[in-house]
Symmetry: C2
Subunit: 205 residues, 2 copies
């Protein structure tokens, strides 16, 4: 594709470098910006640069935040003895949206994936061990994806934390609420039968 | 959705203001930028601001360019007596990619669309008339979409140019090359029969 202007080509190249955005979409976005007021593009760019340059990570849980501690770790009403381990801040936001969790988080920043060159040293696993060693934590909930990499990471953390006298749990796996049993995949359905809960417990939720 | 950081929320809001990008995609893009080097975000933002602030439009055809005249209008080897009228620069790029057109363009910047509040005065129709009045143009090819708005604009331009002694043509409509006749829509198929070309002419292409 030949572009009539080097400025346009440059902008399209940058937009198309984003994941999931191809060159046709990038051109559409660049032309959209040209139709809008110049202030729009400036505030757009400023927001991205500000985020990248001034972002902070919580010293305790490594969640994105604006201060030294994120609002969850700084909140005295949260249960600091209950730590939920997640891969990324997207999971923190998803769990927070449920309104069901009153503990705190620990963001690993990824999962162990030898294929992508990510080992335990690249993740916030040592700082998790330090938090546990400090003594306040009573239970660690592992909330990673059920992939090969997620299971590997779960097992690595479980081994790492085994010297400490704490409970390590994983989130429940089972048939999604609203799903029809007949369409559930067999691994999930099998797991949901093995890990069945007492009916009395389930109606209390 | 609650965001852990105001900077992140701001960046997500800006990204989600782009057409076709929702809040989930915007969050994914913002987190992608956080994983990359800060230089990446800075050059990304700079490319967009540079485009918006320093973009120029060709004085003749209103195509995007880096100088006063676009490379097509400035090229003495193009046929300046043949002007192809298009809606936007995307169509210029598409036609240039075919390599079949040796004339020059005229970019309207939109089409007449009363529903969107776009009238003839918002488009580069007067400057097209000026180009024609200047005398060099012998033929104007209308290459707008076959929508109600495109047909209205075609007719408006045709009326506007009728006092001048030039040829006004529209691009051929017919069954796409590679398409099966049985699946062509009836309007297109009907038009392609009415506007049939001599077999001798068609094998020369």
């Amino acid at each position: 594709m030949k572009y009539p202007s080097a400025l346009l080509e440059n902008a399209v190249n940058e937009l198309a470098s984003l994941p999931g955005i191809g060159r046709k979409t990038a051109l559409r976005l660049a032309l959209y910006m040209l139709r809008r007021n110049p202030d729009y593009t400036e505030s757009f760019s400023k927001a991205l640069v500000d985020l990248r340059l001034h972002v902070k990570y919580c010293k305790l849980c490594h969640n994105i935040c604006d201060d030294d501690l994120c609002s969850i770790c700084a909140n005295p009403e949260r249960d600091h003895s209950l730590v939920c381990v997640v891969e990324n801040i997207k999971e923190v936001m998803a769990i927070e949206n449920t309104g069901q969790f009153k503990g705190v988080y620990h963001v690993l920043g990824g999962i162990i994936s030898p294929m992508d060159g990510i080992g335990p040293g690249d993740l916030q696993i040592n700082s998790l061990e330090e938090r546990v060693a400090a003594g306040e934590v009573k239970e660690v909930i592992l909330a990673l994806s059920t992939t090969m990499e997620g299971d590997t990471t779960n097992f690595f953390i479980y081994r790492k934390l085994s010297p400490y006298n704490i409970k390590v749990s994983v989130i429940a796996r089972g048939v999604s609420i609203g799903d029809e049993i007949e369409y559930a995949d067999e691994v999930t359905l099998g797991r949901s039968i093995l890990n069945r809960t007492s009916f009395n417990d389930s109606i209390k939720l």
